[in-house]
């Protein structure tokens, strides 16, 4: 996809930003580029969202383009579908991961299927933004990783950035997409700053990317897990183990090219995720890599996951969430196989 060249002479071409601000910049640019782009959600107006991702947009674009909606997730998604049928490009904010389920029917039974049911007669350019994942010490329904439900649904595209630069560009590409995109924003990565280059789109929306090269074991993850994998790689390097880290970026579709290329080189694959492991993104990658690179594998593909339990009380979340050490335990098992 080619993005419009929107960097004006006056605007900075680079900035060191937290992901919240990078997402905000991406949303703002999309609204500037296309008057059909709307924001919808709970508390996204004057407050700027509970994570301030839409901060300033209500003041700049007004209440007709930044809609504080009634408190009803199915209502948000369902009316966004109607607006998309009318030619708009709504970006819906779901306040927290665990609150998407009241809108699940509209997403899976309606949004995902509208184009197919219309035999191609309509497009559904709706983005559903979902802050997700743990590491923030919050209460129930505020730390979940429900991405597999959406990746399992034909008709949806599912992505998750791991850093501010990707967040900016992936948001712009998601809004430009004519298909519905479920955009998972890793809450624990909302605040660390990173450089955003506003002039360099870089990696396409649905491409996975090698973010650290290595030779011993391939480790794959998305969202907040990428930083965990990079920490694990640092620790492993100190012990002489070279991890190749791949940022999945897109969960549907999954770009297997870089993963398979890496596995052909290392012969070992560990997939990490915060979500429960049973019937998960990691399971899917394990199955597909086994099908496509069986003779390159020197060990079974291993998964490092949250447990198959509800997300626990925050006091014990560090035992639940995959840590660099948990990743390295799997790396060791793979190498010892």
């Amino acid at each position: 996809m080619t993005m419009p060249d929107t960097a004006s002479a006056a605007a900075p071409t680079r900035a060191n930003l937290p992901m919240t601000k990078a997402l905000n910049a991406g949303l703002r640019q999309a609204m500037l580029d296309d008057p059909k782009v709307l924001m919808m959600g709970e508390d996204i107006g004057p407050l700027g969202g509970v994570f301030r991702v839409t901060e300033g947009l209500h003041a700049e674009f007004g209440e007709k383009r930044v809609l504080d909606t009634p408190l009803a997730e199915s209502g948000i998604i369902g009316t966004a579908i109607g607006l998309a049928l009318r030619g708009y490009r709504p970006v819906c904010e779901i306040q927290f991961d665990g609150f998407v389920f009241p809108g699940f029917d509209q997403i899976t039974s309606q949004l995902a299927r509208m184009r197919n049911r219309h035999e191609g007669g309509v497009i559904m350019p709706v983005v559903v933004r979902i802050p997700y994942g743990g590491h923030i010490g919050s209460i129930e329904h505020h730390q979940e990783s429900p991405e597999a439900y959406f990746a399992h649904t034909p008709g949806l595209r599912v992505v998750s950035p791991s850093n501010p630069h990707d967040a900016y560009w992936m948001m712009r590409e998601a809004i430009a997409s004519n298909d519905p995109v479920i955009f998972f924003e890793p809450k624990s990565r909302y605040w660390p700053k990173g450089e955003v280059d506003f002039t360099a789109p870089g990696t396409p929306l649905h491409a996975s990317k090698v973010v650290r090269t290595g030779t011993s074991v391939t480790v794959v993850g998305h969202g907040a897990m990428v930083s965990v994998l990079l920490q694990a790689a640092e620790l492993a390097a100190a012990e002489g183990i070279s991890l190749e880290v791949i940022d999945l970026r897109s969960i549907s579709p999954i770009d297997y090219g870089p993963i398979l290329e890496s596995v052909h080189k290392t012969g070992h694959l560990v997939v990490a995720q915060e979500a429960a492991g049973f019937v998960s993104v990691g399971s899917e990658i394990a199955a597909t890599v086994t099908e496509r690179a069986f003779y390159s594998l020197e060990a079974p593909v291993l998964r490092v996951s949250g447990f198959d339990t509800p997300f626990p009380p925050a006091a014990v979340e560090t035992h639940f969430l995959p840590s660099p050490d948990r990743v390295l335990e799997a790396v060791d098992r793979s190498l010892a196989f």
């Binding site: 009803a72 607006l83 029917d105 309606q110 298909d179």
Partner: protein, 382 residues
């Protein structure tokens, strides 16, 4: 649109059932009909003839479609028998620029908006999940099978009309509005209630047309609500009106006013049309298991077509016209049957077509695989 419009005074209107025709077909407006009489007076005898014709044609079509299902030509049929007046009256209250979001039983509404009834049969024969292009068929949107989902789509669409400035300009020839059909069963769904919340909040140009046909498959309306359903509107902050849905003239007049109000920027309203599902929920249903025959007899005696025919006869409409309508209905049904039998199955490529607007590698790969797999059998028996 939003927020500021919420400061406008809330219109609440509740009324006893609006009726223009007595059960026997005499012109006998209820007291509650007074404000709707100017809308009734828009109609000419030519309109009455259209109303009658469409009710009779769709009744015959409905019978033919049920027969096709019994003969194995359709996977399922959803009868509209008994609900013709509510549907015909409300459909004629729409204008060309309006958008209609049906549930799945509004066959005659589609017909009035220009839809070929064979297109509905294509979906029920299982050769498509949709069947038509709404913008090429009178803005009659696709049937929605998950109950009440379409109420939110309709509300969002109406919000889009507001954002476009396509409504409430003061020009009734171009101002747009939405009408969404749902039923007494669907009224219990969360989506129906969320749609009413959103519509009231944003003051959308929209009419919620609820056909209370008294049964959600086997469950009576008394299980859905302890209060008459039109009264719920007041709790959402919009007018609610109950109309005799077996009275085509009252259904027209009440809906015409509500749609005019919606186009003029007066916000949404809810119409509860009291009618009856004379037939089964679908051809897979058996109402003799749960319905009192006396109740059925009560409603059959209030048949909307019989009533309107009596009214027309009272006006002096000639028998020749009534006979010609029966003939036209039979011809239409026969034509639909003939063309329904000619519906062909689509190519297997429809499995993969249009799942995404832009290619998705998994779908592309699976289509390629299936093509290779199935063509591998070609000629294997020769």
């Amino acid at each position: 649109m939003p927020v500021t419009s919420n400061d406008a005074p809330v219109r609440t209107l509740t009324s006893p059932t609006v009726q223009l025709l007595s059960t026997e077909g005499a012109f006998a407006p209820s007291d509650s009909a007074a404000e709707f009489l100017p809308y009734f007076e828009r109609l000419t005898e030519a309109d009455y003839r259209k109303f009658y014709r469409d009710m009779v044609v769709v009744r015959k079509f409905d019978t033919e479609a049920a027969n096709l299902q019994r003969q194995g030509q359709l996977a399922l049929w959803v009868p509209s028998h008994g609900q013709e007046a509510a549907q015909v009256g409300s459909a004629y209250a729409t204008r060309a620029q309006d958008h209609i979001f049906p549930s799945y039983r509004e066959h005659v509404v589609g017909m009035i908006r220009g839809l070929d009834m064979v297109d509905i049969l294509r979906m029920l024969r299982g050769v498509t999940l949709g069947g038509w292009t709404p913008e090429e068929h009178g803005n009659f949107h696709l049937y929605t099978l998950v109950l009440a989902s379409q109420t939110l789509h309709a509300t969002g669409y109406a919000m889009g009309m507001q954002l476009d400035g396509a409504t409430a300009t003061g020009n009734p020839e171009t101002d747009q509005a939405v009408i969404v059909y749902y039923g007494d069963g669907a009224s219990s769904q969360g989506d129906a209630n969320e749609a009413l919340v959103f519509a009231a909040s944003y003051q959308t140009p929209q009419v919620f047309f609820m056909q209370n046909n008294h049964w959600a498959i086997s469950v009576p309306v008394s299980r859905q609500s302890r209060t008459p359903l039109y009264l719920r509107a007041g709790g959402f902050g919009m007018p609610g009106i109950q109309v005799d849905g077996n009275d085509v003239l009252a259904s027209y007049a009440v809906t015409a006013k509500a749609m005019d109000d919606a186009r003029a920027g007066h916000g949404p309203s809810l119409i509860e049309a009291l009618t009856y599902r004379v037939g089964a929920h679908t051809t897979a249903d058996d109402p003799t298991k749960y319905r009192d025959p006396d109740e059925l007899a009560y409603w059959v005696a209030r048949d909307p077509i019989v009533r309107f025919r009596a009214y027309l006869k009272g006006l002096g409409v000639e028998q020749e016209f009534l006979d010609s309508v029966d003939e036209e209905a039979a011809d239409h049904a026969a034509d639909v049957r003939r063309r329904a039998l000619e519906i062909t199955s689509p190519d297997r490529s429809v499995i993969f077509d249009n799942v995404y607007a832009e290619p998705h590698p998994l779908v592309v790969e699976q289509q390629k695989w299936l093509d290779g797999y199935e063509t591998s059998f070609d000629g294997s028996e020769s």
